[in-house]
């Protein structure tokens, strides 16, 4: 959390000037967008009569109603405790999102019929590819980070070439290069290994920088103390430096894992039957595009949420040794 001053401060959303300005802002916003022709207009029919005939009055009434509800909501939330506030806001935004999805008039039976296949084939493949790639990427990254920090010119050159190359090119190109390029050299490679290889190398290049900055963030004195006690380089790295660097590394790593989970969708380009590939193909014949795409999107999101939870747990664990 940010540093919070202990000086008593009024709740912002209970200050009249704030509520009034938010009210004015929302009012203005919805005056600009004409909502008379939408579901909101239908809801307001008792007040404004036929929405399409209501003209400027209808517009104003709708905007006024929305602004009033919004501000009331804001003020009420201000009374709740922090946890409750977070919960309520999440729930409300989620409901709005559902309303948005509902607007697509999705065919629920179709989703119900295809979802098991989407999960059993697509999700499993996605998780499997991502997990293996993350493990390989971490190994590559730590080696490259140490190489980049070492005084060895050869190691540095190789490592910096590697990170420059794989960070400097779209992942999609790398996937094609490996899948289509390696067979030219005589290595015929399947789609899944090619995808895993490309993902590992690309994500590993980004992770290299995360590890490197994490290692650099540790005070020189830790190296000196450790080395002066007779610990070797590798012992110092594994038991003294990396454990201290982890709290610094975890947040960007969480980012990396989540990004990589979704980047794994790019291997659909070489025909791997993972989540995105199936989402695009399964609904195609019956013109149920949206059903499958939205399902896949929600599945990706749920997986990311799992990773976020893991990340926050890990962060909390490390916070303990720092606490005073």
């Amino acid at each position: 959390m940010l540093y919070s001053d202990t000086v008593e401060s009024e709740v912002l959303v209970h200050k009249p000037w704030f509520v009034v300005s938010i009210f004015a802002l929302v009012l203005l916003l919805f005056l600009v967008f004409n909502l008379t022709g939408t579901a909101v207009g239908e809801l307001m029919r008792p007040v404004i009569g036929d929405p399409l005939q209501s003209g400027l009055y209808g517009r104003f009434a709708i905007a006024f109603a929305i602004a009033a509800i919004f501000c009331l909501n804001l003020v009420l939330i201000g009374f709740a405790s922090l946890r409750l506030q977070i919960g309520i806001v999440w729930l409300e935004v989620l409901l709005l999102l559902l309303a948005f999805f509902a607007a697509f008039h999705l065919s629920l039976p179709f989703i119900r019929e295809k979802l098991p296949f989407l999960i059993a084939q697509g999700l499993v493949t996605t998780i499997y590819i991502s997990a293996i790639s993350i493990i390989f990427a971490s190994i590559v990254a730590i080696v490259a980070a140490v190489a980049k920090l070492s005084g060895n010119g050869f190691a540095y050159a190789i490592a910096s070439f590697y990170t420059s190359f794989f960070r400097g090119m779209p992942l999609l190109m790398q996937i094609y290069l490996i899948y289509l390029g390696l067979p030219q050299l005589g290595f015929v490679i399947d789609a899944v290994p090619a995808g895993v290889l490309a993902l590992s190398l690309c994500v590993g290049a980004y992770m290299t920088e995360i590890f490197r900055s994490g290692i650099l963030s540790i005070d020189r004195g830790q190296w000196e103390a450790s080395r002066s006690m007779g610990f070797g380089f590798s012992l110092t790295m594994r038991r003294i430096i990396l454990p201290q660097a982890l709290p610094v590394i975890v947040p960007p790593m969480g980012n990396m894992f989540i990004a990589m989970l979704k980047d794994s969708s790019l291997v659909s380009a070489i025909g791997v039957w993972e989540l995105t590939f199936l989402a695009r193909t399964v609904g195609q014949d019956s013109f149920h595009h949206m059903e499958m795409l939205i399902s896949a999107a929600v599945i990706y999101w749920l997986m990311s949420i799992c990773l976020e939870l893991v990340q926050s747990r890990v962060e909390r664990r490390f916070a303990r040794s720092k606490a005073r």
Partner: protein, 290 residues
């Protein structure tokens, strides 16, 4: 002076050492009863923990250390003082090879320090170092800080290492803090833990680099007290410090460094009451005036 005998590790440096032997010594070979003389020499040599001969060091073109000669015998307490930037830290960091010297010779506990050495660990095992900023491992408890050295370096089993650590934490009088993390301790307590951590390795010599310089005044006393009691127990110590009271009380010799040279060297009573060099006088007047 020194002729290392019977110790293979020292033989490498023998040929160079001969030239350093005082002028009357070569005659020793011609006198009767040579064997007994040799034995006596060996005993003296064994006593020497750190030996620096004409040591020079450069940072790029900047000469940090110039022709440093220094012998530290077993049980000897040496205080090094001098203005900031005079190379005190650099010198003692050369003794456990945290820094490399370019010229001259350093022999620590019978091992010659040089660029190609493979057994730096062997030297460091026997040389404890206490830093200005403690440098405790923040992700380990105080107890673990004291256990890891013996466990990882000497292969001591965990229970023995724990007993050993507690013994030395008692020695610095903070056994009750054993399960805390370093950040939960005051500066003085942290520095005492750092001393205990080094002691756990049972080193042959302890190097202190301004151990009280980053402490609040009321904590300086407790750390100095710990160091004094160490000295009383016969620990070989090389302390870089500006605590002149400590130097007066425990030092066998005080060294004054300026611009990378040892300018003056003497017993504390001579050093403080009758300094020879102007630079020393100036330094002492500055440091004792407040």
């Amino acid at each position: 002076m020194n002729v290392g005998q019977g110790n293979e590790a020292k033989n490498v440096s023998m040929s160079r050492l001969i030239s350093e032997v005082p002028v009357d010594l070569p005659q020793a070979d011609s006198i009767p009863g040579r064997a007994s003389f040799r034995q006596e020499q060996a005993a003296v040599a064994e006593d020497k923990i750190i030996e620096a001969r004409k040591v020079s060091k450069w940072y790029g073109t900047f000469r940090v250390l110039t022709d440093i000669n220094l012998n530290v015998r077993k049980g000897e307490r040496i205080v090094i003082c001098g203005p900031s930037g005079s190379g005190k830290s650099t010198l003692i960091r050369c003794f456990n090879r945290l820094e490399a010297h370019q010229e001259g010779e350093i022999i620590v506990n019978g091992i010659r320090l040089h660029n190609k050495m493979r057994n730096v660990g062997e030297v460091r095992k026997n040389v404890g170092m206490v830093f200005q900023h403690f440098n405790l491992f923040p992700h380990m408890t105080v107890l673990m800080n004291c256990m890891v050295g013996p466990m990882w370096i000497k292969g001591m089993p965990e229970t023995a290492a724990r007993r050993n650590a507690l013994r030395f934490l008692e020695r610095v009088r903070i056994p009750e803090q054993a399960d805390k993390y370093p950040v939960q301790l005051s500066g003085g307590q942290q520095q005492r833990v750092a001393i205990a951590r080094s002691l756990c390795m049972e080193p042959a010599v302890m190097l202190f680099d301004e151990p009280t310089s980053s402490l609040d005044p009321e904590m300086v006393a407790e750390v100095l007290e710990t160091m004094t009691s160490l000295a009383r127990d016969g620990m070989t110590m090389v302390c870089v410090t500006h605590e002149m009271g400590f130097a007066r009380a425990v030092a066998d010799r005080v060294l004054f460094m300026d611009t990378g040279r040892i300018v003056e060297e003497g017993k504390p009573q001579d050093f403080f009451t009758n300094p020879q060099h102007d630079r020393t006088k100036l330094f002492l007047s500055q440091i004792l005036s407040h």
